[in-house]
Every structure is written in structure tokens, then in C-alpha cells.
Amino acid sequence: MRHYEKTGILSIKDFQVPSKKQLEKGVAILECVQEIPCNPCVDACPVHAISMKDINAPPVNDFEQCIGCSKCVGICPGLAIFVVKVKEQTAWVTLPYEFLPAPQVGAFVKALDRTGAIRGNALVKKVVKQGKTMVITIEIPSDLAMDVRNIRV
């Protein structure tokens, strides 16, 4: 039995992690590890970087192909895709958000990790509506790039 089956919390050992160089470019991290019948991310990818053996297989992202466009972030029904970009001491995380009030560009919000714990402040850089899911890009210190996955306005 895997730890996340008891807690619901994934660790970076559970999914595909990009290299330092790939992170500099900015790529989509697919935190979708179970075999569930679902494939909209494959159809949404404009460069065909995301693939799946069959509809139940977990998706695989070819980080070399991925352009970090975040189209998959807003379409994923499981809200399980995050685009992460790291440059020196700064990181940008693009995440799905479905709560009101909507965060405002330029405002500071709380940065939360996979357990919901507050890990510091984040600056809201971009807010895009994709259907009723908001796709938010935040700026955080680079050491939190692989931890912060939610915000609180």
C-alpha cells in the first residue's frame, strides 16, 4: 500500500519530476498517479507532449517537448496539473483555483503546500479564466517550487 492511499498527499517520489534545466524552461508537472479513465490533458496539449498508453494509464509528460503553456492546468478534471518554472532564487507556479473571491493580480496571497499548511506569501502574477476554473500564476521563492500547490486569498 502506498502512503498517499492513506493520506491523500503525494510526495515527489510518486510522480515524474523535471530536471533543473527543464524547470528553467517551465514545464507541466502531472500529479496524477493512479489509473483512472481520463484523458482530456492529452487532447488539450498543443505540442503532443502528454501521452497515455490507454485511457486508464497515468499520463506521461515529455518535458523536452512541453512548452509550459498551462492549457492542461485548466482542463484537468482532477485539478492535478501544475506548471512550474524556476529561475535562480524565484519560482513561478501555475495552479488551478476554484474558490471565490478571485485573487487579484499584484496582490499577495498565502502559499499553501500539499497538506494545506501555510509556507509563506505568494505574489499573484496572472489570473486566467478557463471555463469556471481559474488558472493562477504565483511567484514564490525557488526553494518552495516543488511544495507550494495552493493559495488562500
Partner: protein, 417 residues
């Protein structure tokens, strides 16, 4: 229950009006000969009757009607869509199953398709209508249907060649002291209050059950601005998808596996609850009790297929644990042991809305083929392939086993005849 003289009404969804008369009912009502509550009885003859306009029923009606069959679609709720209208989350699956679209939007799309076939005269839709029973008839299947329109009820004597029962499921209850206090809800009821009527069920919720329903409803509670104290799950693992659990966890909601509710505290309503840890035999560990303050308990502990009408028709039912209880034995075309009687969706075994829609299409098409309205067996094969794909993963194991057992029992039953 009888409401204003109409038998077999589910009181929990009947609108409350001044002077409403609610009575206990202990046997099946007889079908009146001439008039019902002072209104003359009407007679309707259709090719296919579809009972329940949820995902399975809507797809069944659409499929039968688009093959040229005349269809009557009946639902007891005020609008069509069944559980879809409460599903504010995006659906899984592939493009074919409208993946990435929210359930509520799928309901709108299906309703639009139904309305356009209705304009062409192929489908007749009756909402706020209850199928009150199955009655004797020589060649056709015969049902009593009561349509409640404002203050007037009209009884229809419906005769059809085929019937598709897509009447869904009922929520399971859990036994614990205080489970009858106001504030103890089923997850479906909480969803109806929040997402259909816009009413907050409470301020702080304890969710019981970490299957997909428990996880999704917890997330929707947070979206409505209601606190979720935690999710307790009696099993040692989270039953729902990890992506749903992860969504909740990163909002700060704890999920405790091998934990359950012991009792509810409160005098006139829920004021708190005691949760307890369970050992590997699912027995409460004494001394592990913890009191939590909350005003709402939400039970998401599974569903049981609605089979009362099927049982009254006399189709062969069998207890299949993986299907959620008693289900009608059916073949690959969703036909039960009685010719012309089909099942689809949760009523044929608890599963997802995506598979319910495909089962609906199969039943609708198979009924049309049986009545000579269609010959499209190729399309039927295509739907079967789609179903097999959706059930191929580990989360499809339970329904897969359920359907295998149903097929096996059906063959056994057939051989014994």
C-alpha cells in the same frame, strides 16, 4: 408514502405546500378505472417508456427516439438531469463521454437534445411525475403514472412495448446513536441543498466516507464557504481518486482512514460528534475517541440500487455486493429476465455517471432494435467497447466484477428455465 392521495411518492423531494396531506401507505394502490381525484384518467401508448431522467435515462430516451421509436420520459423531480444537476465538478473520461465538462453542463446539453427531439414529436417528457406501479396487461407493459402539475394530479394509463428503468439509487444510512437528529444528512441531500437550492446545510461539517462522493461533496462544501472539520473513512485506504483527496488536503482538510463516527452529540440538533479509530478488524479502539464540534454530519457511505419497480414487475433479482445490493439480472443489451424490460445506470449496479450514460445508450438502442426500429448492431458493439475501456482500470474492478456476476447469474437462471 401517499401525498395528497397520490401513492408511491418519495416525500423527501415532494414540494411542501400549505395543507399538504402526507400518509403512510402499506400496499400498492389499485389503478382507478375511470377517474383519479376527480380528473378523468388519460391513456398513452408509446414504444418505449423511460423511468428516470438522470444520465442513463436521458441517454436511453435520446437513443431510442433518434432511432425512430416514440418515447415517454418520466421523472419525479421538477427538472431532468437526475444527479447531474448537482455535479459542479468536471467529469473524467474521454471526449466521447464529455470529459472536462461539469456534470451540470452535461445535463444542460442532454436536455437541449431531448427538447429538440420533443419538438419533433419523438419524445414526450413528464417531470414531477411518479410511476406508481406496474399493472396487468395482455400484450404490452402497463404502468400507472401520476403527473403532479401545480394543484392538479392527472393519472396516465401508460402502455408500452419496452420500458427502460433508469431510476438510480438510494443513499445508504449508517447506524449510530443520534443519527436521527436534525443535521445528519446524506451527501446527496447536502448537494441538493447547496447546489440546487442554494441553501447552506450548516457551518461546520463532519464528512463520513472518503469515496469519490465524500471527497467531492467535501470540496463543494468548502467552495460554498462551509468548514469541513475532517473526513473519516472506516476502510484503511481512501476509496476515491487521489486527485480528489489531494484537492481537499491542500485546502487543509484532514482525511483519517480507519476512523469512523461513534455517536452524534446534541439535544435538539447536531452539536458535535465523537469519532473513533478502528482496528484492522474494523472494531472501535477504546480510548481513541475524540470529540469534535460540528453542526452537520454528512454521510457518504455508499448507495443501493433502486429496484422496487423492477421487483414489482417480477424480474429476476440477485444480491450482488459489488453492485451495491439487489440488482436486476440483465444481459449485455441491459435486458432483464422479462422481455422488453431493460435497466441502465445505478439501478443496474452502482457505478459512475459516465458508464451510466453508455448503459443508457445501450438499453435505448437495444430496445429500438427489439421493436424493429433500428438494425444498428454495429453501434451497439461500439458502446460495449467504450464501456469495457472505462472499466479496464483498477477503479473499474468492482463494477467489472459486479457485471460479470450478473451475467453469470443470468446464464444460470436462463439454464434453469
Amino acid at each position: 408514502m401517499r401525498v395528497n392521495g397520490v401513492p408511491n411518492v418519495r416525500t423527501c423531494i415532494a414540494p411542501l405546500t400549505e395543507g399538504v396531506i402526507v400518509e403512510m401507505q402499506d400496499k400498492l394502490a389499485t389503478l382507478p378505472d375511470a377517474e383519479f381525484k376527480g380528473v378523468p384518467k388519460k391513456t398513452l401508448t408509446v414504444d418505449v417508456l423511460v423511468v428516470g431522467a438522470g444520465p442513463a435515462g436521458l441517454c436511453a430516451a435520446l437513443e431510442s427516439a433518434s432511432q425512430g421509436a416514440s418515447v415517454l420520459l418520466v421523472d419525479e423531480n421538477q427538472c431532468v438531469g437526475g444527479q447531474l444537476i448537482k455535479q459542479t465538478h468536471k467529469f473524467f473520461g474521454s471526449k466521447q463521454e464529455r470529459a472536462g465538462t461539469r456534470g451540470i453542463d452535461i445535463a444542460k446539453e442532454l436536455e437541449k437534445d431531448v427538447r429538440s427531439l420533443q419538438r419533433e414529436g419523438n419524445i414526450m417528457v413528464m417531470t414531477e411525475s411518479t410511476v406508481i406501479g406496474y399493472y396487468e396487461s395482455e400484450n404490452k407493459h402497463r404502468f400507472g403514472v401520476v403527473e403532479r402539475y401545480e394543484y392538479q394530479s392527472t393519472l396516465y394509463d401508460v402502455q408500452c412495448d419496452a420500458v427502460i428503468l433508469s431510476c438510480g439509487a438510494m443513499e445508504n444510512m449508517l447506524l449510530f446513536p443520534g443519527n436521527d437528529l436534525p443535521g445528519v444528512y446524506g451527501a446527496g441531500a447536502v448537494q441538493t441543498l447547496m447546489n440546487v437550492y442554494g441553501v447552506k446545510p450548516g457551518k461546520r461539517v463532519l464528512m463520513v466516507g472518503a469515496g469519490n462522493v465524500g471527497l467531492i461533496v467535501s470540496y463543494q462544501l468548502l467552495q460554498a464557504g462551509i468548514a469541513v472539520d475532517r473526513v473519516v473513512e472506516a476502510a484503511p485506504v481512501i476509496g476515491g481518486y487521489n486527485v480528489h483527496a489531494a484537492k481537499l488536503r491542500r485546502c487543509g482538510v484532514p482525511i483519517q482512514v480507519s476512523h469512523s463516527i461513534k455517536e452524534v452529540c446534541g439535544k435538539n440538533n447536531v452539536e458535535g460528534a465523537v469519532v473513533v479509530a478502528l482496528d484492522h478488524q474494523w472494531k472501535p479502539i477504546s480510548g481513541s475517541e475524540e470529540y469534535i464540534k460540528c453542526d452537520t454530519i454528512c454521510l457518504a457511505v455508499g448507495l443501493t440500487p433502486s429496484t422496487r419497480l423492477l421487483s414489482q414487475i417480477g424480474v429476476q433479482l440477485e444480491f450482488i455486493p459489488e453492485a451495491g445490493g439487489y440488482v436486476a439480472l440483465h444481459d449485455r443489451t441491459m435486458q432483464t429476465s422479462v422481455k422488453g424490460v431493460y435497466v441502465a445506470g445505478d439501478a443496474s449496479g452502482i457505478e459512475e455517471a459516465s458508464t451510466a450514460m453508455i448503459e443508457g445508450k445501450i438499453a435505448g438502442l437495444a430496445a429500438a432494435i427489439q421493436l424493429g426500429r433500428s438494425k444498428n448492431k454495429k453501434l451497439l458493439m461500439q458502446y460495449h467497447k467504450q464501456l469495457t475501456q472505462l472499466r479496464a482500470g483498477p477503479f473499474g474492478e468492482k463494477p467489472r466484477i459486479a457485471k460479470e456476476k450478473i451475467a453469470h447469474e443470468k446464464e444460470k437462471h436462463h439454464a434453469s428455465l
